[in-house]
Amino acid sequence: MILRDFGPTVICCTPSYALHLAQEAKAMNMDLKSFKLRVGIFGAEPWSKAMREEIEKSFGITALDIYGLSEVIGPGIAMECIEAHNGMHIFEDHFIVETINPQTGEVLAEGQEGELVFTSLSREAIPLIRYRSGDISRLITEPCRCGRAHIKMERALKRSDDMLIISGANIFPAQVEAILVEIEGLEPRYQLIVDKAGALDALELNVEVSDKIFSDSGSVKELQKIEQRIVKDMQDYLGVEPRVKLVGPNTLPKAGAKVVDKRRM
């Protein structure tokens, strides 16, 4: 409604939310292409080429990728230019960028794949010096046809750690573990399954039923209370709402494979 009535020419959100909007518009028989939108700026989560094409097609816009880090500035470290539509220009007047080998910390030559490291130049309250982003990418040094001299980075689709990005929220499995051990009687035997439900990310959290939580009552109520507590704590601390499923003892893999990411990039 706002898109139609106010007629903005630029939209900025997460790519999955854009797809969600497109689906809703379709369901309401609205043609997004008839709106005034010209450009979309999308980021905060990894998205595929197919998603970009789908967004461009359903909105009738050029979709641009933006890159940021919550710890540094949020969105606004780098963004694609509309002319080349390929690689994000890093705002080098505000940030110095380097790529390093995540294992050794050794600085790599520009153009080699490695972990991005940023130093802020203009931030006064919380300056960051050689801050490790955890994002794996490659710098593009070739001149851009848009004429900007700022160096470009490729889309960061890999991480140097086990961080997950779910609907724009950053989550480490260790945080989920910390939430589970805080709940009386639960053991952190769990598995996170990330998938797409339509356009949006869906998180499923399987937790094994421990002796302790099943010991006294054998009652459905007690187990449901635990499920609700897990959902609430995940929302409060991590900003995601998982579908929690209690599973039998020793049914989840013991080591590794605590995270299954079924989203295809």
Binding site: S217, G218, S219
Partner: protein
């Protein structure tokens, strides 16, 4: 006077109940009565069996999450109002029933109702005072 019920956690997917009943069959355990509580994701199988310890052991060994839950078995005449008389007695005293299930004795004259009360001790006390027959576990297992 309490009866021990075996509670088994079951994931809600085809075959889990069958696995539990197979384990019991292979251990030659007879199920006196049972009930299944279910939610969207999981269920709890509640069993009264002829050998509580053995059932507990074999189910645990087969990887099930098992617990023993104290319940109360009450014998009521198998006729209209049988259950109601029990409910009347416990509700007057403010005792809450979490769940219940029942079976009819082989002789066919009485029904046995298995109650999970929030306060089993107090419930047994009230029921005995009101001349209900609270069936001890031993008798129930050997019916």
């Amino acid at each position: 006077m309490k009866v021990e019920q075996i509670s088994v956690f079951l994931e809600n997917k085809p075959g889990t109940l069958q696995q539990a009943t197979r384990v019991l069959k292979d251990a030659n355990i007879n199920i006196r009565t049972l009930s299944v509580a279910e939610t969207a994701d999981f269920g709890i199988l509640r069993l009264i069996v002829n050998d509580v310890e053995k059932a507990n052991k074999v189910l645990k060994e087969s990887g099930f999450q098992v617990s023993k839950t104290p319940v109360v078995a009450v014998e009521v005449p198998d006729r209209p109002g049988g259950l109601h008389s029990v409910m009347e007695a416990v509700s007057k005293e403010g005792i809450n029933v979490e769940y219940l299930y029942a079976f009819v004795e082989k002789s066919g004259e009485n029904a046995v109702i298995i109650f999970r009360f929030d306060n089993p001790e107090k419930a047994i006390d009230i029921l005995t005072k009101n001349n209900f027959t609270v069936v001890p576990g031993k008798k129930l297992y050997e019916f």
